[in-house]
């Protein structure tokens, strides 16, 4: 599309293009095939929303942990054996209450705390969500199935730097007294992004 030097030449497919790049990295001794295998393991097995769900469940059941989580999210998740990439230097945990609703986005690209809440779903990266959620939060959440009462305060968090955010949902009253493991099962990626309440 930006190529005007060879108007007769069709644009290579995305597969042909990544093959070309991969072959360059291979020749440079960067071992791309091995790294792809490792990365697939990370995205499928390690960076899963169940990590964040465990953080939420622990915060619901352990008041001291909850305080540490608000004071320094990055240090607190380490207690659960979770880690964040070096460049994510700060994790801010946003507390939903019966009268406050938090929702996260990244209008400039698609940043998330992916090691904790999982890689962002397709719609989070789409132009529609990025353009609209900061300006039409209540409307967009409503369209996505979350009708918030008019008196509910909405706080949108735009991930413009390497600070990462996650939402701490309100614990459903019916689950009081449940074990951490059982609680973690009900916490969804959507609730930690803030497009759903539990």
């Amino acid at each position: 599309m930006t190529e005007h030097r060879h108007p007769q030449q069709r644009t290579a497919t995305v597969e042909q293009r990544i093959d070309a790049v991969q072959s360059v990295l291979e020749e440079r001794g960067m071992k791309p095939a091995e790294f792809i295998e490792q990365a697939n393991h990370l995205v499928e097995e390690q960076w899963v929303p169940h990590n964040g769900a465990r953080v939420v469940a622990k915060a619901w059941t352990d008041a001291a942990f909850r305080r540490r989580l608000f004071a320094n999210g990055r240090d607190a998740v380490v207690e659960l054996g979770l880690e964040m990439p070096r460049h994510h230097r700060h994790l801010v945990v946003l507390e939903n209450t019966p009268t406050v609703h938090n929702v996260i986005c990244c209008t400039l690209c698609s940043c998330t705390a992916f090691t904790i809440i999982g890689l962002p779903p397709d719609w989070y990266k789409d132009l529609e969500y990025r353009a609209r959620v900061v300006r039409e939060s209540r409307t967009v959440l409503g369209e996505m199935g979350l009708a918030l009462p008019p008196e509910m305060e909405i706080r949108v968090w735009d991930t413009t730097a390497d600070t990462r955010y996650m939402v701490l949902p309100v614990q459903p009253p019916a689950t009081l007294g449940w074990t951490e493991d059982k609680l973690a099962q009900i916490v969804t990626k959507e609730s930690m992004i803030g497009v759903a309440r539990l």
Partner: protein, 205 residues
Amino acid sequence: MDGMHDLGGKQGFGPVRYALNAQVFHEPWEKRVNALYSLAVRLGVFNMDEYRHAIERMEPRHYLSASYYERSLTSLATLCVEKGLVTREELERRAQGAFPLSMPSAPGRSNVSGPARFKAGDRVRVRDDHVPGHIRMPAYIRGKTGVVVGESPAYPFPDAHAHGVAAADEPTCDVRFSASELWPNSADEAFVHVGVFHSYLERLE
């Protein structure tokens, strides 16, 4: 730069195509792209700010029509060419077709002022800065006023880090804006919080 990527508040888009438990990847090649840009960052071929900026430098029609992972692929390939790992001609020969890359970079800049300090509760204004290079200030907050609600550790300063310019690391402030001040009479009532580098801010007396 006031690029096509800077989407916050743009109007005219339709409903979010939303599904519960939505997929992260749709095609196998997308996972390879995601792994390989991350490998290049890990090996120091380029940094995250260079990577983000090379996406922003995509020709606007290409940016809007490309999927998320095609944008990632375009940045990776552009930086491999700009860092001298391969020529564009060689990439096109291997890909057996045209390989659209991003537009050239404009100069970056270093920190704007001395280490101004802000604390929670301070009222601040976002400077009316227009820069041709990388910046992590969404245009919708430019010139707007808000209240500091938090501060981060220091990060590499993106306006410099994306361009190989020397700069001191800088913290960001989480600044709370009112949607009705950002878009008067034209937004749902809400607080919008943005992580804003100190260099983008001035204190309001």
